[in-house]
């Protein structure tokens, strides 16, 4: 399945692993913080509308 990368296999595979991990971590962190902030904003807005 994986093409024959020869003597540079470590360099190629580690480049892909590091890059993909960093991109996935960036997206995951952004989405998690986005959801948390959105939920908190809704909570604050509800509390304010209840208190007038």
């Amino acid at each position: 399945m994986i093409p024959d990368l020869g003597k540079y296999a470590d360099a190629v595979l580690s480049s892909y692993a590091v890059s993909i991990a960093l991109i996935v971590a960036l997206v995951a962190f952004s989405v998690m913080r986005g959801r948390k902030v959105r939920a908190e904003m809704e909570k604050v807005e509800q509390r304010m509308s209840r208190n007038g």
Binding site: P3, D4, L5, G6, K7, Y8, A9, A11, V12, S14, S15, Y16, V18, S19, L22, I23, A25, L26, V27, S30, V31, R33, G34, V37, R38, E40, M41, V44, E45, R47, M48, N51
Partner: protein, 257 residues
Amino acid sequence: MSIAAKANALWEYANPRKFLETSERVLPFFWIVSTICIVVGLIWGFFFTPDDYKQGSTVKIIYLHVPAALMAINCWLMMLATSLVWLVRRHHVSALAARAAAPIGIVMTLIALLTGAIWGQPMWGTWWAWDPRLTSFLILFLFYLGYVALWEAIEDPDTAADLTSVLCLVGSVFAILSRYAVNFWNQGLHQGASVMRAGAVTGADTEEKVSNVFFYPLLACIIGFVLLFIALVLYRTGTEIRARRIKALQARERVGG
């Protein structure tokens, strides 16, 4: 619609509510198309392109290294544009967009530096050299860290936006140097531009250029990275707008209560 009217219509997006409505509508497109482009580009490049006659299989690193380096520089230029909008027109959304983009730039610069080091070791025999392009990229990375640290260190958001905008103007020198360093100083190890050069793409010049076998999957990856960057900036700017609204509401609560 005249050009002036179109330009004025653009400022509508400085309204946080309008920005959030529009970004929520277009975000699914950017998430989906960017993922498709990156996945297709990487699978195409990794599995279906041959080894380079000089660099062997390490040429496959190009599909991550070049798009990440491109976005590292262009992210800073986008931050420069939005910082200038903040300094001139005082639109909060533009300052928050610059803040939202900085961590993306950090990750892109880090990917470019790491994949460059991993690629450089077998090709140049060293992980690192104080080459003009590598050094200017490292300085750009440090500017990104300083920019984020400055936002975090200052409590008043308008003062933070002012100071980070000035830092962004100064750092732009290194963003531009990162792109053109190889043209100014040719004693470094890093090669000159072989992809984003008009003559290289059209075949009009005779200098070394990327073969079409490698170019098309690389183009897919570059488009994917650009779209992913837009998706992340829109999403993260929305988060920053909401975080700012929370602070404003909490301040109002404290005054009222």
